[in-house]
């Protein structure tokens, strides 16, 4: 099938109004924020998709998928477009981007059973606003909350800033509806728990559009008590102290909604007004009053236990104020994009990994040492640091942040700067038994390590792809390595 015929067929399937072939929109759809700089400079090396289509119902999604499955057309599911790891990047000449634009309804807010059902194209902010009016919250608050939508949030296994209390999206999803390439619509029912065989929600959660299209999601909701929020901030002598305090709080069973430890360099960019060149540790306690009181006590005790590494306490007002301005709106994203058109710089990159408590400080030191000594463009680095922002009973994450002066041609930026740095982070993480992808998904650029990430369990992952997407039409290159895509990676 060629492009013209594809467009004709798709128009016949959905009608003209739901098929977008505007060149500007197609250019935008050919890559996500992974190649943001090349994209802004208009030097992308990947092909544009043939069209962006906007189904209005699950049935339309099913019809589109079976059509693409039959004709071997690549499909990229799309929601809020905040993807950071190449999940939305196109590597095929014949591709349809299936956008959840019209799947935009909040279907039900069930206050008694504490759950809400939405379509995949509902922005998280929209549900959150509707819930707040009634005194509830989703508890999900990624920095991209104003823009990201449920389809993407579930497909990437996203996590929010209050995860230490509410968990990641996988802890929130009760049930969902999704469509497989053969057109099969599956609804996973909403029950508090069950032991009905393996938990099949996890086939859809985190699939990154490589197995199925998510059309509907039901999530838990929580009572919201903003009046009880309490904030703590400290300057610490080093990052290891901060991580020790985080661990102490977690292993004692407390669940502050926010628990973070920052390196000096990362603290400098976030807390310019109070960091004093030191590391920063901060907490937020949230929930009903009794729990907040107990959590605060737990935080204070943990801080007291490690007081030798704590340099001073920071006004909680400063921490609260910082939190209130942390999210990125569409305007912020657009502003960065506009800036990149003119300037040889952007707002930086991140690579997020996780490991157990024992490993994280080692991992951090190894990565920083290797980048400083091995990365050939180390003299261009303007920022290199990291923070831990999501903690668990057995470990935590490390969110490496880095930025650099871009001295190469825009089309070379990834291979000159980002890739070599990311490679060091991934290699060191896997070497120490951690996970190379804490919450952004594997996308298309870390797929080279998917097998190593999963080890012998890769067998299970591969079988899922073979079973659910035998013709390989779902998001070519996402999660699973593809030789044909290697030319875009190197």
């Amino acid at each position: 099938m060629d492009k013209d015929l594809l467009l004709k067929e798709v128009r016949a399937l959905l009608g003209d109004a739901q098929v977008n072939t505007d060149p500007e929109a197609l250019y935008d759809a050919s890559a996500d924020r992974y190649k943001k700089y090349a994209k802004a400079r208009r030097v992308l090396d990947v092909p544009p998709p043939a069209a962006i289509v906007y189904p209005r119902s699950t049935e339309e999604v099913a019809r589109l998928l079976s059509f693409c499955n039959e004709h071997g057309i690549n499909v990229i599911p799309r929601a809020g477009k905040t993807s950071t790891e190449g999940g939305l990047e196109n590597w095929k000449e014949l591709t349809l981007v299936i956008d959840a634009l019209h799947l935009d309804k909040i279907l039900k807010i069930d206050e008694y059973n504490m759950q809400a059902t939405v379509q995949a194209g509902v922005p998280l902010q929209k549900l959150e606003d509707a819930l707040r009016e009634r005194g509830y919250t989703t508890g999900h608050s990624p920095q991209s909350k104003p823009v990201a939508k449920f389809g993407g949030l579930v497909a990437t296994r996203s996590i929010g800033q209050f995860s230490t209390l509410y968990g990641g999206i996988e802890d929130m999803v009760v049930g969902l509806e999704c469509v497989f390439p053969n057109g099969q619509i599956c609804r996973i029912k909403n029950v508090p728990r069950r032991s009905g065989g393996p938990d099949i929600r996890h086939i859809a959660i985190g699939n990154e559009g490589s197995l199925c299209y998510i059309t509907e999601v039901t999530v838990k909701i929580y009572r919201y008590f903003p009046e009880n929020n309490r904030f703590y901030g400290y300057l610490t002598k080093d990052l290891a102290t901060g991580i020790q305090v985080l661990r102490e709080v977690m292993v004692n069973g407390y669940r502050p909604s926010v628990a973070r430890a920052y390196s000096e360099e990362d603290a400098r960019q976030h807390f310019y007004h109070f960091h004093k060149g030191k590391c920063v540790l901060l907490f937020m306690a949230e929930g009903n009053r009794h729990i907040v009181d107990a959590t605060c006590k737990g935080i204070e005790e943990a801080v007291a236990k490690f007081k030798d590494g704590i340099l001073e306490q920071v006004s909680s007002e400063l921490i609260e104020n910082w939190f209130n301005h942390l999210n990125w709106s569409q305007q912020d994203i657009d502003d960065e994009f506009e800036g990149m058109k003119e300037k040889d710089s952007h707002d930086g990159f991140t690579t997020e990994v996780s490991a157990d408590w024992e490993t994280i400080p080692k991992l951090y030191d190894n990565v920083i040492r290797r980048i400083r000594s091995e990365f050939p463009r180390a003299h261009d680095l303007t920022l290199l640091g990291g923070h831990s922002s999501h903690s668990y009973i057995n470990g935590t994450n490390m969110y490496f942040v880095y930025n650099y002066e871009i001295n190469c041609a825009p089309e070379d930026e990834m291979r000159v700067y980002h890739h070599p740095i990311q490679r060091i982070i991934v290699e060191e993480t896997l070497k120490l038994g951690g996970s190379m992808c804490h919450h952004h998904g594997i996308g298309k650029y870390r797929n080279e390590w998917t097998q190593q990430e999963h080890g012998s369990a890769y067998f299970m992952l591969k079988k899922l792809k073979e079973a659910f997407d035998p013709n390989g039409i779902m998001n070519f290159g996402a999660i699973f390595y593809q030789e044909e895509g290697a030319k875009f990676q190197k």
Binding site: H379, N407, D412
Partner: protein, 265 residues
Amino acid sequence: MRIVCLAKLVPDVDNFQYDHERSALIRENVRLLLNPADATAVAIALKLKADSRAGSVHTVTLGPRSAMPHLEDLLRRGVDRATLISDPAYAGSDTHVTSHILAAFLSRCGFDVIFAGTHTLDGGTGHVGPQVAEILGIPHMAGISHMDPESLSEGRAQVRVESEEASYTFALQLPAVLGFAYAPEPKLPFIRYEALKRDLSGRVEVIDNQALGLAPEQVGVLGSLTRVRKIHVKGFRSPNTRFVRPDDEGIERVYRFLREKGFVR
């Protein structure tokens, strides 16, 4: 036409770190960058070379060894040769000594014209260009915003210098030292991916005082006519943070504050 560019690596002043407890600048891991006005001068030189108006571009840097990766980058951008003059004996040299060291090298390296930036980000005295010209006995002009490339073929440089009141045009007999003001254009050419792997050996040289043969009392702190008595870091006070609400009172307060500081009238 052989162009020699004076190219200084300066500390990234925006990201300077200061140890407030010991009241000292933290010099470890300070990032270096090519002084912006010098980058303009090199960019103009490379543009002349690209337009076949110059045969070679040679950069000369007095500074620490850590400048090396930046000099290699200049070669990757199209500079033909880079010289780093580096010697522990030069530490603490003021602009007078710096000019003598540079002139000692320049007088033997061969050039038709010398390009420089007018000001540096860190020192900002603007001394070095004119002093080098004085020592070499050739003309100098500072603050150049534009140079007519045609004029070079006639053995002179026709340049424009802007002041607040007027724009002046001068012509200098070559050889001369031309001090350029920083300008966002032209930019240095990008480093291409392929150039990163290029063999640069033989194109960047490091020379020390043995090669230049200046007497110990002529260089470093001893030779300097000026002394740095004290470094005063401007700024860092814990800001007096005040929180206001987005209501009339808050807006009024912010407005009054901005007026007080002269940001709004």
